[in-house]
Amino acid sequence: MTAPVEGADTRAPIESADAAVPDKGAGATAPGRPVRRWQGAAAFTAVAVLALVVAPLLLEPFRLGLLAKYLCYAIVALGIGLAWGQGGMLTLGQGVFFGLGGYAMGMYLKLNDAGGDLPDFMVWSGVEELPALWKPFGNPVFALTMVVVLPVAVALLLGTLVFRQRVRGAYFAILTQALAAALVILLVGQQGLTGGTNGLTNFFDFFGRDVAADETQRGLYLLVAVVLGVLYLGARQLVRSRFGRLLLAVRDGEDRVRFLGYNPATVKTLTFAVSAGMAGIAGALFVPVVGIISPALLGVVPSLELVVAVAVGGRFALAGAVLGAVVMGYARTYFSEELPDAWLYLQGALFVLVMTLAPKGIAGLAAGLVRRREARA
């Protein structure tokens, strides 16, 4: 995993020159071309109609549920796109924040289902009294607040500690990965408190609705799609803002930014916290959609898979990150259904293929095509 990091550092000036091009949100950098901004808005509207109207009509409930899962991952990918693509922070541990959000939601749902009794896994783990850590999560407002507050707090703490010390590149990547590994060990070891390897599963009620019912799942799908859309627009706005320009500048020349009088550590910490908050929200949505949160979902491997998805989609464009998560999620389902024996190889081959043919991912490829056509016109 060191290659992308080195690439980001050594080839930074070249990338920064055209990084803005694949980004639909980069209209601000090309004030002379209002057409592009109009195109971006049209594309976003088209995708929104497709996701909110066409998909629920055409897809059967099972497929719609899968799409909802991909979109949850897309929310995490959006955060990775922001931190890594725009901010140059290769985070290999987004699973940590995804998990914090997911467990906060899962704990509330478990307590709600138990209705005053102990959650089922505590009973078979020999826990006799509800642990103090769990008690406040019985309150939905507290639990939903924690979905965002916990990941953001951890990211702020980590960011403050490491970015001030000017830890970056591969060292930061390894640190985040170690954090993911550590959280998994912690969760597995505390079976009575966390459900161990099984995680939290077997939910019934989601805010008064049967979580497994097709209607609830359709509503959840729409919720996930809307949240993704809102967060995407927010992230795009952030990238276009003064703060976003500063973030790009930090990515491409941190020392120069420091000499100009800014504090790169603050910029990076805040961005990292935003990406962590997104992962937390994604985790919380994932729990009712898929019906489980377990250590296997937030360890090193799933965290890496999301970074791979962002790379495939194109890390320099926020839309690319989202696209990558959906494409990789769909590829995973499709290959595993068609070729149960060989699908993991195919998934790997897809990554290798995209990276060799299009190092900037699908979004980079698409932007290249558009540019070529414009050049010809």
């Binding site: 059967e60 060990i185 390897t197 099984n198 599963t201 898929v290 489980i292 389902t333 595993s336």
Partner: protein
């Protein structure tokens, strides 16, 4: 699919083929649809949903780890579909939509402890991978030990897939237990047994009782490292029954003479036959009708007689303790004489009162 899971799938496909060759069920041929859970719990749930909702299968055979079963359980309960789970597990579960054809704790772990007690082993050391099965198994072992005058000298867990065992083996040799109870999973056994062998302590001096090491795993660990050690299961390739002779011959004919058969494979193979028998009895593949008909269904299987307990949907199984032989096979040294009634919550064992 991981190697162990592939062998179970192969055994299940063999059963489907045999049933079809004999005319199928209710005049219809069985058509298998294979999906891969990829050792990833949410994927198990996703694939189970696909099989039920999209492929509209009559029943599902599968699952490996406890976590995979726990992830699938709500899917089957909410969609009122049937799962046949073929692996020995930690008990404390009895879903109305799952049939458990592997052993529960009183058919494997408790007999394993009975055997060690009979052999005069008083001081135990517990080694396990860090997940639900070993942790729950060890809770049961500690309760058993406390009630039977045995002493647990140590309890150690390593992460799944861990392969560095020098420290742990050192701890064991310092504690000097009479026997080790091993609930390590998969590859960890390779490293553990290698390390243990390098200390020069033999199976005679300090036997290791394993509950997750079968014929398939013995091949992977290397016979040299594990020969002479104890295992607890309900079936071995060497189990002497007419049905087993047929099963082993058919399996080798289909998949290769070098293949071995093991307990989870046999439990998966049985599951298909038990389901087919229940369907015949019910005269339908309707889930509720099959569930109702399944209680009391009894067949002579490779492990001996198995009978479905209608109350908890587990099966009566004969416990067998074996010793790993230098040729990689396992020789039975003790059995429970008759099939043991499944008791997933250990309700009939007074010492287990505080567990559930």
């Amino acid at each position: 699919m991981a190697i162990s899971e592939v062998t179970v799938r192969d055994a299940e496909l063999l059963a489907v083929e045999e049933i079809n060759a004999a005319g199928g069920v209710l005049g219809k041929k069985l058509e298998p649809v294979v999906e891969d859970g990829a050792s990833d719990w949410p994927t198990f749930a996703e694939k189970a949903t696909k099989l039920i909702a999209q492929d509209k299968v009559a029943t599902v055979f599968g699952g490996w780890t406890s976590a995979s079963r726990k992830a699938m359980l709500p899917v089957f309960e909410k969609r009122k579909a049937l799962l046949w789970y073929p692996v020995q597990y930690e008990g404390l579960e009895s879903s109305p939509y799952i049939f458990y054809t592997g052993a529960t704790t009183n058919q494997q772990i408790v007999p394993g402890l009975d055997y060690l007690k009979e052999q005069g082993k008083k001081k135990l050391f517990l080694v396990g991978s860090d997940y639900v099965f070993p942790r729950t198994a060890n809770k049961i072992i500690k309760a058993y030990a406390a009630a039977n005058g045995m002493e647990v000298l140590g309890e150690e867990y390593t992460p799944l897939g861990h392969t560095e065992y020098s420290t742990l083996v050192n701890k064991i040799t310092e504690a000097k237990p009479d026997a080790v109870f091993n609930t390590l999973n998969g590859d960890s056994n390779v490293a553990f047994f290698k390390q243990l062998k390098s200390t020069g302590i033999t199976a005679d001096q300090m036997p290791v009782m394993s509950v997750s090491v079968a014929e398939e795993e013995v091949k992977g660990i290397g016979v040299d490292n594990v020969a002479g050690q104890l295992v607890a299961w309900n079936y071995y390739q060497t189990t002497d029954t007419p049905a087993n002779e047929k099963f082993v011959a058919a399996f080798k004919a289909k998949y290769g003479a070098d293949k071995v058969t093991s307990d989870p494979m046999e439990a998966g193979y049985n599951a298909v036959y038990l389901w087919a028998e229940a369907v015949k009895k019910a005269g339908s593949t309707d889930v509720e009708a099959v569930k109702k008909a399944a209680g009391g269904v009894s067949l002579d299987r490779p492990e001996g007689k198995v009978t479905i307990d209608g109350d908890n949907q587990h099966v009566y199984k004969t416990a067998r303790i074996g010793v790993v032989q230098p040729d990689g096979q396992i020789k039975e040294v003790w059995n429970s004489g008759e099939p043991i009634k499944p008791d997933p919550y250990l309700k009939t064992y007074p010492w287990a009162g505080g567990l559930v």
